[in-house]
């Protein structure tokens, strides 16, 4: 059996199936990675240990971020159709993007699987919350996520570790948000405030989950899923293996994959009974579209011609503010866990007259963070905001001891708010094979075609109104200008939130979907896709927890089917 692994789903499938005794080959396009490998650790490094002070020159989220790759990878281009936008983030390493992600681990709610029933837009999933719930439970218990029982209808509770206490700025925001009726509850992050097994340590509160935790106190697929799978002795890991295509036999069944070894640029093949794709939604689509044969002239598992279609990412728009009463604040270690301790789940599910139909949640940042490149930039502007229109004080502080003092005064007084919303999956937003370009391995590359609609723009407008409402209510001073219609209300490019899903969507009808409700290709029974590709819609929830639950569910289905030998 073989799975090409990149993200959470591949790690989960490898873990479940290796434990069940199946032989697995994992193919990874990047190098090996273990967060406890001293040569790779960036955790607990200070900014001065990097000559660029942690700037994002080689790693887009900064020198210490644990993603090898980025928006652009040398020799591995992608293209866009004119007039459309899409930014594609790839992380080439064992564990992929799970090594640096935000650990926001939200279950989809009952509504999220059936949004069409509610607003008539997009499509329903062929499965509902009750189908996935047992797997969410298993994922919670196995991997660990903190949170609290809240009984919010579309934000299902789970098996939660205790959350950390809120930070000071989070208490300020909560107080403000409460005044205007916007809820804030403990965030739900896959970080171990208590451990779930003896192989992993408890969080020691350095706020650096983006660097991947050397004691495995956060969920990275590398440390939490792949390592134990390797220990089973049933897994062969192929690193720097760039998969070209899924190979097939005369009947059109998958027989394995072919890949380019990045070290010697030679082509190799791995044979297997079952092929499990987990290369990330767009990479899996690319591989399948490139897997052309006599039986599958449009690419493998693509008789519906739906591979690549319905590509969708979360929406995102942000705003910052200064909280004046935090200026000149007392110092203490405020790191906490890697991410927010409180967040705002979508609170307006019962309103149908907003002008847009899908919701968003709000993530918050702030506090006495570790400085890195960019810290202290544009001090003049920041102090102006903080001090209002007092021209005299503006003049006094351009340099020297006054500037030094201002930096210290302002430190830890700013907060950020980011809306992360559900976009509506549309057939017109897609990725396809660019007929005119190959990467340096000779593999045809993806071409993206994606545009936001008014649904997403109006949602972003609402986000920004909400941010100002909260900032006002907590006595904050908004930073920068409020984005308007001319800049799509600050809506970031599609792809920017790195929640792209939908390219091999799930359905009961083989004419309008790529995989069935067990993530199994309609056309090719021994081919599965367990990354974000099968998502019919992505909710305003970060996709990882659902990818993990569905990958486990698909793996159970594979185990059952293997017993009967029906592939």
């Amino acid at each position: 059996m073989h799975c090409r692994f990149w993200r959470a789903g591949g790690g989960m499938a490898a873990n479940v199936l290796a434990e069940a005794g199946y032989k697995i080959a994992i193919l990874e396009a990047g190098p090996d990675f273990d967060p406890a490998n001293p040569d790779q650790i960036t955790q607990l490094r200070f900014p001065y240990e990097s000559p660029r002070r942690g700037a994002g020159t080689t790693r887009p989220f900064g020198d210490f971020d644990m993603a090898y790759g980025g928006w652009e990878i040398e020799g591995e281009p992608y293209t866009r159709n004119e007039g459309t936008k899409f930014d594609w983030f790839r992380s080439r390493m064992v564990g992929g993007r799970t090594n640096h992600w935000g650990r926001i681990s939200l279950r989809f709610g009952p509504l999220d699987f059936k949004r069409k029933d509610f607003d008539g837009k997009g499509d329903n999933w062929p499965i509902g919350y009750e189908d996935v719930r047992p797997y969410y439970d298993k994922v919670d218990k196995m991997i660990g996520v903190f949170g609290t029982m809240e009984n919010i209808p579309n934000e299902p509770d789970g098996f939660f570790l205790p959350p950390p206490k809120p930070r000071l700025h989070e208490l300020y925001i909560k107080k403000g948000a409460g005044k205007v009726g916007i809820p804030m509850i403990p965030s739900r992050l896959s970080i171990l405030t208590k451990t779930v097994n003896k192989k992993r340590g408890a969080c020691f509160y350095c706020r650096q989950c983006s660097r991947s935790c050397a004691v495995y106190a956060d969920f990275s697929s590398s440390s939490v899923l792949i390592n134990p799978a390797m220990e089973s002795g049933n897994v062969d890991l192929y690193v720097n293996a760039m998969v070209q295509e899924v190979t097939t036999d005369n009947e059109g069944k998958a027989t394995g994959v072919s890949y380019i070894n990045k070290e010697d640029y030679q082509e190799y093949q791995v044979k297997s009974k079952v092929v499990i794709m987990a290369a990330s939604a767009c990479s899996s689509a690319r591989i399948l579209l490139n897997s052309k044969s006599r039986q599958h002239p449009n690419g493998l598992a693509n008789s519906s011609e739906h591979i690549g279609k319905y590509l969708h990412d979360s929406t995102g728009s942000s705003r910052g503010a200064v909280i004046p009463s935090l200026i000149g604040r007392k110092r203490y270690n405020e790191d906490g866990v890697g991410g927010m301790h409180l967040y705002t789940p979508w609170w307006l599910n019962d309103q149908k007259d907003l002008g847009f139909t899908r919701g968003y949640h709000i993530e918050y940042s702030g506090g006495m963070n570790m400085p890195a490149y960019g810290f202290g930039f544009n001090m003049k502007d920041q102090m102006n905001y903080a001090r209002g229109e007092d021209i005299e004080t503006k003049i006094a502080r351009g340099y020297g001891l006054d500037l030094k003092e201002d930096v210290k005064l302002l430190y830890g007084s700013t907060v950020g708010m980011s809306g992360r919303g559900e976009s509506i999956a549309r057939k017109e937003n897609y990725c396809e094979i660019d007929p005119n370009a190959v990467d340096k391995y000779g593999i045809p590359v993806l071409r993206f075609n994606y545009q936001w609609s008014d649904e997403e723009r109006k949602q972003a407008q609402h986000m920004n109104d909400t941010f100002e409402e909260i900032i006002d209510a907590m006595g904050g001073i908004p930073l920068g200008e409020k984005p308007g219609a001319e800049d799509d209300y600050g809506l970031l490019n599609p792809g920017s939130i790195i929640h792209e899903v939908g390219t091999t969507r799930m359905g009961n009808d083989a004419k309008t979907s790529v995989v069935n409700k067990f993530n199994q290709a309609h056309d090719v029974p021994n081919l599965f896709v367990v990354d974000g590709g099968p998502f019919v819609s992505q909710a305003d929830k970060n996709p990882t927890w659902t990818i993990l639950a569905l990958a486990w569910r698909a793996s159970d289905y594979i185990k059952e089917t293997m017993k009967t030998g029906r592939f």
């Binding site: 607990l44 090898y68 205790p162 208490l171 779930v196 192929y238 202290g376």
Partner: protein, 232 residues
């Protein structure tokens, strides 16, 4: 199966060796970092760093000017050193090679500064008196109040101020000056009581009941117990 599988066995051995030490004792991580080489670079990143370090961008005279400006922007105070004490010029030399978009504005800005100083005082900037330096810098340090003819100088100074400020406050001295306390293993148990009081805030009963208690953090979660006590 075709192809090499050597890597998987190496990985297995690694994990088995390290696990106990690392997990029982997070401080081992600090040792690993202190004794480790580099700062977690991939081979390609390490090679790029080495390549940049092997080159020199600024001339001696330019570095001298940068040092003077840097210490005007962040001077020493009673407790904490200046920008040059924190080796900010060295950081600036590196960052312009790392981000070439800084190169022309920085080189040209330094030339602008010498020309301005020559025109006014018949001396290049570093050779002018302290008072003369302040006169020039005062003209370009406040972008909202700058004469149109000196706008380019102000734009340069803004870039210089950004780089000096960021270089200083990401240095060891700068972090101490800032009072930064984080980036070390600890146990978060909320905002200190006296700070909460100072801000008129408090943890409500629900938070105190639900949040992790420091003494429980080393327990392994018992899900059976959880199911007994929570209605799911």
């Amino acid at each position: 199966m075709i192809g090499s599988v050597g890597a998987s066995f190496v990985l297995n051995g690694c994990i088995a060796d390290k696990e106990e030490k690392v997990l029982e004792n997070p401080e081992v991580l600090e040792d690993a970092i202190e004794n480790g080489e580099g700062y977690g670079r991939t081979p390609a990143e390490a090679a790029r760093d080495a390549r940049l370090r092997s080159k020199t961008f600024f001339s001696e005279h330019e570095m001298e000017t940068i040092a003077v400006l840097a210490d005007m922007i962040i001077p020493t105070d009673n407790n904490f050193g200046s920008a040059t004490d924190a080796e900010v010029p060295k950081f600036i030399e590196f960052i312009v090679k790392d981000m070439p978009e800084h190169q022309t504005p920085m080189r040209g800005g330094l030339m602008w500064l010498d020309h301005e100083s020559n025109s006014r005082f018949q001396k290049i900037f570093v050779d002018s008196s302290r008072q003369q330096k302040i006169e020039i810098v005062d003209d370009i340090a406040y972008p909202d109040h700058v004469e149109p003819t000196k706008k380019q100088g102000a734009i340069f100074f803004n870039r210089m101020r950004n780089l000096v400020t960021t270089g200083y406050f990401t240095s060891k001295i700068g972090l101490e000056c800032l009072g930064y306390k984080g980036n070390r293993p600890n146990v978060w148990d909320g905002v200190p009581e006296e700070v909460l009081r100072e801000h008129g805030l408090a943890y409500d009963e629900k938070m105190l009941r639900e949040c992790i208690k420091p003494e429980e953090r080393n327990e392994v979660m018992n899900w059976e117990e959880y199911e007994r006590t929570h209605m799911l």
